[in-house]
Structure formats: structure tokens, C-alpha cells
């Protein structure tokens, strides 16, 4: 028994080590980004916000196996919740705005889950599209609160921790975004390897098998939708805080689809894949659309076809495979 306990202890420490290593790498990249692209911090912050959306899709699609084209409903709900709180209720503290946004997203996640989990397969995908359209329409109609198609303005976040103003160069927003991403990433790593995470991975592979083990498939997935909503909502709130406006595009089908593309590009089912896909896609979008705004979509299309053909497990999956081949491990 003591041997087992020791072993468990070691496993625990190793797990803790690995838990620290990944965020350190992220942090290093984030710092490099800060110094390499000081004039582009707004873009980097947007990449972080969208990363949170893509991570959220990964939870539902990559891990639980539910394809969705409506995840922006949760992202937009978070953005509007944070924005409306600031513009109409004077909740301008950025931390409070983030919490409001995260809970707004979680609520949207709950609603999406309640609707989507009534179906399977293709009908489920259609329901996800319906959900994001309904959210979009609701925000459009409630223009007194949301500003409708003009967008929600009048969001002025107060200084972070009462000390750091949200400056014109977007430094504070970027640093805050990096902090949010790191926190979320670590939390998701813990969740994915937890008993709940294992159950979700099992559901993603074979839900009937999980039922045959006594697992509550619907309840578990609903919980994952709420968690995913929380994450996407955090991303939405970060968007609202950093840009100080919220538009209907945050609640759009187009954003949902684009984010799903980023996930597939990077590699669904892995948190690193989600991040890799988002950074690659958005960085390329920025570079290519600046050079040639007309052919941006053509290049995205070609890129996607190449990814699906040559790296079916996404860019991160391909890198993993390459590393395995080099080091001769599994």
C-alpha cells in the first residue's frame, strides 16, 4: 500500500511538473509576442480572445464529439453580458466584467446544450446553427440594450486592479488577456485529465459504451456545455474589454464556422491543437489579407484542403507525429 501511495505521490508530482511546463512555454511565447509585435498588440489580444472560443469548441467537439457551428452564441453572450454590464449598469471593473461575461457565456452554454442535446448527428449540427441565429436575432431586436446593428458602445473599463489603465496601445489588455488564457489553459488541463474529463473523452468515442458502464451521457455533456460556455464567455468578455465595443459579428454563424475551421486546422481533441490552429489561422489571415485582401479566402480554402489531406489530425497532430518519429516514441 505504501508503495502504491509513493507511486501515486510521484505520479502526482510529475503531473504537477507537466502542468507547469506548458503554461511556461505559453508565457514565453506571449512575452516574445509582446516585444516582437509592439504595434500589433490589438491583434494579439484578439487572437487570445478567439483562442478561448476555439478552446471552448474543442471541449464540445474535440473531446465530447459533438460537432457545432454555433459556438459563437456563447462567445457573443459573454461579450454582450460584459458590455451591457459596463454600459448600462456601471460594472466597469475589468475583473467583474470578465466574471459577468463568463457567466453570461455559461448560461448560453446551458441553453445551447439543452437544445442541441435533444438530437444527434446532422440534426444536432443544424440545431447548433439555429441556436446561433436565434441569439443573433435576439441581440439585433433588443437594440435598446445591445445597440443592434450599430454595435454596443459606451464600454469604458476602469483601470485593472485600480492601477493599470487600458491604454491606447493595448498593453494592459494584452497582458490581461495572456493572464486569462494561462489561467483558462491550466484549468482546462486539470479538467481534461480529471475523472470528468476521462468520462467526456469516453463519450466522445462511444457514448453507448459509456452508458453500458452506467455513465450519464446527457448530464455529463450538458455540464461540458456549461464549462465550454464559461470559457467562450471569458473570451467574449476579453473582446469587449479590449475593443470597448461589441458588435453582432461576435454572435454570428460566420465566426462559429471560422473558429471550427481553426480547431480542425490545429487539431481537434487537443488543447494545444486549438491554440496552434487559432494562432496560425489568424496570423495568416492578417498577413495575407494585408497583402492581397481578395484572395484571402482562396488561400484559406487551399490551406484547409492541404491540412485535411496531409495532416488529418491537424497541425499539432502532425508535429506530434513527426516528433514521435524522430524520438522513436509512440
Amino acid at each position: 500500500m505504501t508503495v502504491l501511495e509513493n507511486e501515486a505521490e510521484t505520479a502526482h508530482k510529475q503531473g504537477a511538473m507537466r502542468l507547469v511546463a506548458a503554461p511556461m512555454l505559453l508565457l514565453t511565447l506571449a512575452i516574445a509576442g509582446y516585444f516582437l509585435f509592439p504595434d500589433n498588440l490589438a491583434l494579439l489580444t484578439r487572437i487570445i480572445a478567439i483562442s478561448l472560443l476555439v478552446l471552448s469548441i474543442d471541449l464540445v467537439t474535440g473531446i465530447c464529439g459533438v460537432a457545432t457551428l454555433g459556438q459563437a452564441a456563447m462567445f457573443g453572450a459573454g461579450a454582450y453580458a460584459a458590455g451591457i454590464g459596463a454600459a448600462h449598469f456601471g460594472i466597469t471593473d475589468p475583473l467583474a466584467m470578465t466574471v459577468v461575461g463568463a457567466f453570461g457565456g455559461a448560461l448560453a452554454g446551458l441553453l445551447s446544450g439543452l437544445v442541441m442535446l435533444r438530437a444527434h448527428g446532422l440534426p444536432q449540427l443544424v440545431l447548433s446553427i439555429a441556436v446561433v441565429h436565434l441569439f443573433h436575432e435576439a441581440a439585433n431586436k433588443a437594440s435598446r440594450w445591445t445597440g443592434g446593428s450599430d454595435g454596443l458602445t459606451g464600454i469604458t473599463p476602469s483601470p485593472l486592479l485600480g492601477l493599470f489603465d487600458f491604454d491606447l496601445w493595448g498593453r494592459t489588455a494584452y497582458i490581461y488577456g495572456v493572464f486569462l488564457l494561462l489561467l483558462t489553459f491550466v484549468a482546462l488541463r486539470v479538467i481534461v485529465s480529471s475523472p470528468f474529463g476521462m468520462l467526456c473523452r469516453g463519450i466522445g468515442e462511444d457514448a453507448t459504451r459509456i452508458e453500458a458502464m452506467g455513465g450519464d451521457v446527457r448530464g455529463t455533456m450538458l455540464k461540458m456545455f456549461v464549462i465550454a460556455g464559461f470559457v467562450a464567455g471569458t473570451g467574449g468578455a476579453l473582446g469587449a474589454i479590449s475593443t470597448q465595443v461589441v458588435g453582432l459579428d461576435t454572435l454570428s454563424f460566420a465566426l462559429s464556422a471560422e473558429a471550427l475551421v481553426m480547431l480542425v486546422l490545429g487539431g481537434a481533441g487537443s488543447l494545444y491543437g486549438a491554440l496552434t490552429g487559432t494562432v496560425t489561422f489568424m496570423w495568416l489571415e492578417d498577413v495575407i489579407s494585408a497583402a492581397n485582401p481578395f484572395h484571402w479566402m482562396t488561400i484559406v480554402g487551399a490551406l484547409l484542403i492541404a491540412a485535411v489531406l496531409f495532416a488529418p489530425r491537424g497541425l499539432y497532430g502532425a508535429v506530434e507525429e513527426l516528433a514521435a518519429r524522430i524520438w522513436g516514441r509512440r
Binding site: 500500500m1 502504491l4 501511495e5 507511486e7 501515486a8 505521490e9 505520479a11 502526482h12 503531473g15 486539470v190 479538467i191 485529465s193 480529471s194 475523472p195 470528468f196 474529463g197 476521462m198 468520462l199 473523452r201 469516453g202 468515442e205 462511444d206 453507448t208 459504451r209 452508458e211 453500458a212 458502464m213 452506467g214 455513465g215 450519464d216 451521457v217 455529463t220 455540464k223 481533441g269 509512440r330
Partner: protein, 256 residues
């Protein structure tokens, strides 16, 4: 001694396209039972399992576990009451290791799969139980392998490991040796011999030799109907059983 059945199917009925695949099946199992369910291909054996687990809804009939009617309960709830099955074609998680399979089943049984923090590798009691199960099934050496890297014989053992980790009261084994290379069935059979003595086991199996070594009671199904329920020796002697199925008896080494 308590002789209340742990499992009862009463008058189960199911038609697929007008053809009865379960025809008024009534069957009771008691703690410690070792029952073999045999019958020709397409007799409705797997369908019977699906009906009692709740994966297929019967058009008539009832299932009771320890005297309680469970018809209104979901498949998962029936599992939590101790009704566990294995699959004729292995259904495992290709991206999970053997250890993860067993740990997930243990955590599920203990109602701990809702927890968002912690890892089974840091849970001594889960590890201890997992080790024990893997050792009984001779799987210790492959604990950290993905199931897709195992041979089919070992995958069948993982199916049984999953079932055992759920600590069932009633275990339904759907052809545990199907697809297992001849050299590896001994390992499976010794696993079957080591099943907990008070567990009620219903095993579907085409390997008649194995059936006769394992079962103390044989149920024969033909076209969805129970045509025999009794001692293995009497089954072999029954003309009707021979006619529908046990022609195989004569060359029992070559199961249908």
C-alpha cells in the same frame, strides 16, 4: 439461503419486420448462477441482451432486478443496479490506455466521474483496485498501452476487466471468445473461472466445449423462443435441441 432471483425477464417480446426475434422469453437468474445461452446464428441472443439492458425497447414483457421492475429505467440506471454486459464485438475506447479503461469504470461505479479535479494516477485506492483486476486477467504488462495496440484476445480481456470493475451482480457475456485466436482462449477461460462466486453469469457462447465446462445450466434459444432450459446433460440428450442447434455437438471443436 436467499433464493430470490437477482434477475428476471418475464414474457419479453420483440419483432423486427414482422419476425419475432424475442418470443415470450422468460428467464430468471440467481446469485452464483453459471448459465449458458446458446442457439443458432440469428436466434436472437444478442437481441435478448439488448432488450434486458434497455438498449432496445421490447413490445411486451418486463425486466426485474432483485425484484424491482426496471422497465422505466435507462440503460445506465440498470447498470448502476448491477446489470452489466459485454459486447459481442469489442467496444473499447481506441484513444485510452488499458489502465484508463479500468480506472474510468471504477470511478464510474463509485460515482466519482463528476469530479473536475484530480487524476486517478494519484488515487491510491483506485490504483490498487485497478492493479488487482489487471493482474487477475493477466493484463498488468499492457496497462499503459492503448487498446488499439493490443491483440484481439487481449481486447476481449479488457472488455471483461471493464465489466468486473463495475462490480456487477448480474453479468451478461456476449460471446466472450468470439474472434479470439484458438491459442488465447485458455487465458479467457481461466478469467471466466475466476469470476466472483456470488455473481450471476449468463454467457452467450458458440464454443460448445467451453459451454459444457462453464455452465451448470443451459438455455437454448431458437427463433426468439426458449426451447430448452435445464441441465447441460439433458440439453445434449434433447432431440429438439439437437435438431435446431446441437448438431454441433458431434463436432464440438468447430463452433458455428
Amino acid at each position: 439461503m436467499n433464493r430470490e432471483p437477482v434477475f428476471e425477464a418475464v414474457g419479453l417480446q420483440k419483432n423486427f419486420g414482422g419476425v419475432a426475434v424475442a418470443d415470450n422469453i422468460t428467464l430468471a437468474l440467481y446469485a452464483g448462477d453459471r448459465v449458458a445461452l446458446i442457439g443458432p446464428n440469428g436466434a436472437g441472443k444478442t437481441t435478448f441482451v439488448n432488450l434486458v439492458t434497455g438498449n432496445v425497447a421490447p413490445s411486451a414483457g418486463k425486466v426485474r432486478l432483485a425484484g424491482k421492475d426496471v422497465m422505466a429505467e435507462s440503460p445506465a440506471m440498470r447498470v448502476r443496479r448491477g446489470l452489466v454486459r459485454t459486447f459481442q464485438l469489442t467496444r473499447l475506447f481506441q484513444r485510452m490506455t488499458v489502465a484508463e479503461h479500468v480506472a474510468l469504470a471504477i470511478l464510474q461505479r463509485e460515482g466519482r466521474t463528476g469530479r473536475l479535479v484530480g487524476n486517478f494516477r494519484a488515487m491510491p485506492n483506485v490504483l490498487a483496485e485497478m492493479r488487482e483486476i489487471l493482474a487477475t486477467l493477466d493484463l498488468s504488462l499492457v496497462a499503459d498501452r492503448l487498446v488499439c495496440e493490443l491483440g484481439y484476445g487481449q481486447q476481449r480481456l479488457v472488455e471483461i476487466a471493464l465489466a468486473l470493475a463495475l462490480k456487477p451482480k448480474v453479468l451478461l457475456l456476449d460471446e466472450p471468445t468470439a474472434g479470439v485466436p484458438a491459442g488465447e482462449t485458455a487465458r479467457l477461460e481461466s478469467a471466466l473461472d475466476q469470476l466472483p462466486p456470488d455473481l450471476a453469469v449468463l454467457m452467450i457462447e458458440h464454443d460448445i466445449d467451453l459451454v459444457f465446462r462453464f455452465a451448470r445450466r443451459v438455455v437454448v434459444l431458437d427463433a426468439g423462443a426458449v426451447i430448452f432450459d435445464g441441465q447441460p446433460g439433458d440439453a445434449a440428450a434433447s432431440a429438439q435441441v439437437r435438431r435446431v442447434y446441437l448438431g454441433n455437438f458431434t463436432d464440438a471443436r468447430h463452433p458455428a
